[in-house]
């Protein structure tokens, strides 16, 4: 008999729930056509919701981190909180995807979405280099297909190919880095890497740099962001929403975990590296966004700059930084899914890509979506009455505490620049009229899309709610950050 490690089923429940949802969704391809979409979407939604529910239970039940599956995974509050964010995000994305015009592939779409979610939920609990790579590839492969799933649209195929090539390169870099770290330390588990005496510093640092670069591809931090605008623009909008919120959440949480648990000794090196990546992302993301006309591209650049803000928290390398990162992820995910959902609504109404021009008068024609988009834009710019301001405040405080006042100033300058394009969106939706430009139809009823409306309302509630109810979220974020060995 081979000794099998004992399995903590509860800790794996979020992953398994999503895999089960994916299985049911995939099997719905065998059903009659009229019920395919309903069954697949319901299964995926249930998978995400159950995963989030189990993650809450795990969060409550795990005051002290526990090692799983012979040390290859970990069960802690950091992973659990990330899983909650991922689960809720995924459920909202299912609602957004419901009304997407797609003649075929419903079963495949929702199955892949749930599988990607399962991969991310698995990824955030990774505790050694093998599971790290496994999780990364798991959700990446699903995303490659999801991006390209609208085969009748050339841009979707192009985006899929682009993501595959760049993402494959990123994965290879990460894998090579892992090999170098293994070569230097002879260990795979993060904790053992930290404890080991490296035989070669050159290998170890090269490995660390490559792992960081590989993860930065997924975070879409500059200068590893080149794929982001094209892929975000070309992918189906629901997939873009999922990538901008969920992929970033997973990748940032894992970046924090790897750096803090596996490389505590090298923190004086990686804090600077991460700070520089953050500064470059802030500069590049914000300047790039200024030049965009296509709203999805604009939001893509904005997501690069948000990656910069969140990496600022990582570079603080402190419990406070971790707390700031996890807090930031909550309103950020909501605003991001919400903003793409509103874009999706406009896209379905006009049946063409949404540019700034095609938002003209949107706020008056569709007052609720208008107010929601307005709120998301202000939130991303860090205005009050949204959680965005506290996200920025906590990140800045953490960086200031860590002595990185120069990074705070860059952050402030970046926020100032970002106003130009966020407020520009508001300008288009309220201060230009569609009739005047003759680009968008004015008046008339929009296509009915209740699930999307619910998703936007939920995102709005989280965005505004995280402003008024800060302390509970911050407490959870603090607990989550405390499960890392700072």
């Amino acid at each position: 008999m081979i000794d099998t490690p004992s399995v903590d089923w509860l800790a794996l429940a979020p992953t398994l729930a999503l895999l089960a949802g994916a299985g049911v969704a995939l099997l719905s391809a065998l059903l009659p056509e009229w019920m395919r979409k309903a069954v697949a979407a319901t299964a995926a939604f249930a998978g995400f919701a159950v995963a989030a529910g189990y993650a809450v239970v795990v969060f409550d039940d795990t005051p002290v981190p526990q090692s799983l599956l012979d040390g290859s995974m970990t069960r802690d509050q950091l992973a659990a909180m990330a899983q909650v964010i991922l689960g809720v995000t995924g459920a909202a994305v299912v609602l957004v995807a419901w009304g997407e015009r797609r003649r075929t592939n419903h079963a495949e779409y929702f199955a892949l979405l749930a599988t990607a979610g399962a991969g991310m939920v698995f990824f955030v609990g990774a505790e050694n280099l093998m599971t790290l790579f496994l999780g990364l590839e798991w959700f990446s492969l699903c995303l490659y297909i999801l991006v390209a799933i609208d085969t009748e649209r050339e841009t979707s195929l192009e985006a899929g190919l682009k993501y595959l090539v760049v993402g494959g390169f990123g994965s290879a870099v990460l894998l090579f880095g892992s090999a170098l770290v293994y070569g230097a330390t002879g260990e795979l588990s993060f904790a053992d890497i930290a404890a080991a005496t490296p035989t070669s510093d050159a290998f170890l640092f090269a490995g660390l740099a490559m792992i960081l670069a590989g993860l930065a591809f997924k975070v879409s931090a500059a200068p590893f962001h080149m794929w982001t605008p094209d892929v975000y623009q070309g992918a189906p909008t629901s997939v873009t929403a999922f990538m901008s919120a969920a992929t970033k959440t997973a990748a940032l949480v894992v970046t924090l975990r790897v750096l803090v648990t596996a490389f505590p000794e090298q923190s004086d090196v990686w804090t600077i590296a991460v700070a520089v990546i953050a500064a470059v992302s802030l500069a590049w993301g914000n300047l790039g966004a200024l030049a965009q006309r296509d709203v999805k591209r604009l939001l893509a650049y904005s997501s690069i700059s948000h990656a910069g803000f969140m990496l600022m928290a990582v570079s603080a390398s402190s419990e406070r930084g971790g707390e700031a990162l996890l807090y930031y992820l909550v309103p950020y995910s909501a605003m991001s899914v919400g903003a793409f959902a509103v874009v999706a609504a406009r896209e379905r109404e006009l049946e063409r890509p949404v540019t700034l021009e095609s938002l003209a008068g949107f706020g008056w024609e569709r007052p609720y979506y208008g107010i929601a988009l307005w709120t998301f834009m202000l939130g991303m710019a860090g205005f009050p009455l949204t959680g965005g301001i506290f996200g920025k405040l906590f990140v800045f405080s953490a960086a200031y505490d860590a002595g990185e006042w120069w990074l705070v100033l860059i952050g402030v300058a970046a926020t100032a620049v970002s106003l130009a394009y966020y407020l520009n969106v508001v300008r288009w939706i309220y201060m230009r009229s569609g009739a005047e430009l003759r680009l968008a139809p004015a008046g008339g009823s929009p296509p009915r899309d209740t699930p999307l409306g619910i998703a936007v309302a939920a995102a709005f509630a989280v965005t505004v709610g995280s402003f008024f109810v800060v302390q509970p979220i911050l407490d959870a974020a603090g607990d989550a950050a405390a499960s890392l060995p700072f």
Partner: protein, 480 residues
């Protein structure tokens, strides 16, 4: 509780106005009713506030973000009572004016106005640094759209300039808020101590100098005040600008005694420059809005001189003048709006001769003008005199500047009065242009009556703004 109620009432009103599917006039009427209720609520507040004891009263404090020491703390100091009083009165007049002229898209418009009212009041009662920042920023959200949607021809340029200027200042303030709060371990204004960091003070000072505005950060002012809807311009110049004064009084002076003292020379010079330069620009301005806008800049310079006089007289005068200027500049802007609606233009060359056959308009413009130019006996004269006397301690030159400002004010106001009322009827003045209507009178007259009341009894404000009427001591003790 009253402070919270004063913030929540307009917020609830704004939601009601935005959501209830009422007809146009009813919507605007509801908003006006909420604004009047707000005035009533303020009267209750002023009656409950014990001016003899002074200090922080009628407040609430709730934990918000415990781990960083951020709390929702609101409450009134003496001068908060008067500044918020000016706010509610000015807003009632402004919202009434919007009702009178029937603004387009009333649900959105009035919801935003009430939201703005909540933001301004919240700024004046906030006793927590972050809450102050939040309210200070929250004012921008409605203003951006109010100017950008309902403004004049070049409204989009105006609103963008305004927001970029203000946000640049605000973000520097955010950096300062973070630095101050993290160093102190609390954001509560009541609990935090003082700081001697000049850079942190500068972050605040720049934000306030943009908001006021002080020379040379007034670049947003002419375009914004010209393009904004007239009642929004009234609110901007009357009360939104005074949040800068509240900031100096509540944060700048008590939290940064040394940096404020070190930099007082610079700020006094800039304030003097604003006063003189603003007055000259007002005198040279070719249209009504330009005159009122630049005179507002000049007056903000004057008030800042009073604040940085650092003595009882100057500080009392600054609060009195803040209230007086709030009321008179709101009145002037509304009158400008009324003249513009009659003549279709505010260009001075095209106006004139409106006194003939329009006795009410002539009387009101004349009375408002007299108060604006601080004729001896008026509330504004009392304020300017206190400031002049107070700033003497900082150097006699500043008192001369204030005196010069008074003379210049007389020059530009008299020029405007005669350009509207006297000389020959201008090309834009037609016989059909009516006298002031009852509705219009009902909006401007209360402002003037309050001002006349204050003229009779300026000490009501000036002697009750700080605990025990010792402004300097109150600030040195951090209002505790």
């Amino acid at each position: 509780m009253l402070a919270t109620a004063l913030i929540l009432l307009p917020v609830v009103g704004a939601l009601a106005v935005a959501i209830l599917p009422l007809p146009r006039e009813t919507t605007a009427g509801l908003a006006f009713f909420v604004a009047l209720m707000e005035v009533g609520l303020w009267i209750v507040t002023a009656a409950r506030y014990d001016f003899d004891t002074g200090g922080l009263q009628l407040g609430t404090s709730r934990e918000w973000v415990e781990s960083l020491g951020i709390s929702y703390s609101v409450g009134f100091l003496g001068f908060s009572v008067w500044l918020s009083g000016a706010t509610v009165i000015v807003f009632a007049a402004a919202i009434g004016y919007a009702l009178w002229i029937g603004r387009d898209r009333p649900r959105a418009y009035h919801a935003l106005m009430l939201f703005l009212l909540a933001g301004v009041v919240a700024t004046f009662v906030s006793q927590d640094l972050l809450l102050f920042y939040v309210s200070f920023e929250a004012m921008l959200i409605p203003l951006y759209v109010l100017v950008g949607v309902w403004g004049g021809e070049r409204r989009q340029a105006a609103t963008l300039t305004f927001v970029v200027y203000t946000m640049a200042g605000s973000l520097l303030m955010l950096a300062s808020v973070v630095a101050f709060g993290v160093t102190q371990g609390t954001f509560s204004l009541a609990e935090s101590g003082t700081s001697d960091n000049v850079w942190i003070f500068l972050g605040f000072a720049v934000a306030f100098a943009v908001k006021a505005p002080l020379f040379p950060l007034h670049g947003w002012l002419p375009l914004t005040y010209r393009e904004a809807p007239v009642e929004v311009a009234a609110v901007l110049s009357a009360v939104v600008s005074k949040t800068a004064i509240y900031g100096f009084l509540r944060i700048g002076l008590p939290k940064f005694p040394e940096p404020a003292d070190d930099l007082s020379g610079l700020i006094l010079v800039l304030a003097s420059a604003s006063l003189v330069y603003g007055s000259f620009l007002a005198f040279r301005s070719a249209d009504l809005r330009g005159v009122v806008a630049y005179s507002s800049m000049a007056q903000m310079g004057l008030i800042t001189l009073g604040v940085f006089a650092f003595d009882d007289l100057g500080l009392d005068g600054a609060v009195l003048q803040s209230v007086g200027h709030a009321l008179i500049s709101a009145g002037m802007f509304l009158l400008v709006g009324m003249v513009e609606r009659r003549c279709g233009t505010g260009v001075l060359d095209a106006l004139g001769g409106m006194a003939r056959g329009r006795p009410v308009l002539a009387t009101i413009v004349l009375v408002a003008g007299m108060i604006a130019l601080a004729v001896p006996g008026s509330a504004t004269f009392a304020g300017e005199f206190l400031i002049m006397a107070g700033v003497y301690a900082q150097g006699w030159g500043y008192s001369v500047v204030v005196a010069l400002g008074v003379v210049l004010a007389a020059m530009y106001i008299l020029r405007v009065i005669s350009a509207i009322l006297h000389v020959k009827p201008g090309s834009a003045v037609h016989d059909e242009a009516l006298d002031l209507r009852v509705g219009e009178l009902a909006l401007v007259l209360p402002l003037l009556l309050v001002l006349l009341g204050l003229s009779a009894w300026p000490a009501l404000v000036s002697e009750s703004s700080f605990t025990g009427d010792h402004a300097e001591q109150a600030i040195a003790r951090g209002y505790r």
